[in-house]
Subunit: 142 residues, 2 copies
Amino acid sequence: MDRVKIFSDYIVQKGLKTTNQRMVILKTFLSSRSHYSTEELYLKLRKKHPKIGYATVHRTLKLLAESGVAIEQHFGDRHARFEPVRANRHHDHLVCVECGLIIEFEEPNIRELQLQVAAEHHFKINNHRHELYGLCSRCAAK
Amino acid sequence: MDRVKIFSDYIVQKGLKTTNQRMVILKTFLSSRSHYSTEELYLKLRKKHPKIGYATVHRTLKLLAESGVAIEQHFGDRHARFEPVRANRHHDHLVCVECGLIIEFEEPNIRELQLQVAAEHHFKINNHRHELYGLCSRCAAK
DNA sequence: CAAGAAATTGAAAATGGTTTTCATAATCTA
DNA sequence: TAGATTATGAAAACCATTTTCAATTTCTTG
């Protein structure tokens, strides 16, 4: 289903309101590269929509996460990042600690092993975090 | 090698000083359950050593991490946690989102797959984070 | 062993990302 | 379209973390 619709439905279902700001934020969020921090998205939005406040961006990102359109991530640095939910729901990340490059990868065998481990410990897994930190080829070459 | 010695050596090598506070913090840190947050350790220490300040605990934990005796972790909640380094250096975590239970596990096959993925993307991995979040058997049963 | 240099400590203040407050504005219901 | 409710933006509050600074402790050197 279209992610805009998912969000709209969530808004209605919760008795919230559809505002210009929310739609602008959602579209900008969906249309660009992933892994936005609140500040990055705020700065980007400000160019075309100087009146949108930081708090609104922040609240909307939280709302996007709530509605299932975005996922909140916490990489090593201090700020949260938000990533649009896409078809390949389950992927993990390679993060370059030097330049900040983030590469997504999917490895079904890892998934399988995760489930196995969880079963061994009688855990019921809701979500997970799996990130590999290091140097990308470019930074390693320096 | 003994972890107290590793730390002492680090202190000397860096031209720092061996203080009572540092030794007390180190020993308490090593002698108890893992995964302390700064505040938890501070509160625990305060019972027997009421004069140790929060800042000192914080600085010492950072120092422990620097010296390789501790590893700084960031789980979902907002504060950092520190874990003593042990023999099974490479392990991952199962975290119960309900009661906070943390179980460590090791799965060599996952490690292998990680290396493989990194190689595919020409990444040089320094460290990683791998956590599975969900409900432990006890909480799932409720 | 004592004195001086240098590092450490603890309390309080600063920092910085995140979250909340509050008056005003916009949306939506009836 | 009015009235009720939610959203917005700016500023303030929050809170874990980090830094500052005067006083204290450690350690080196004479």
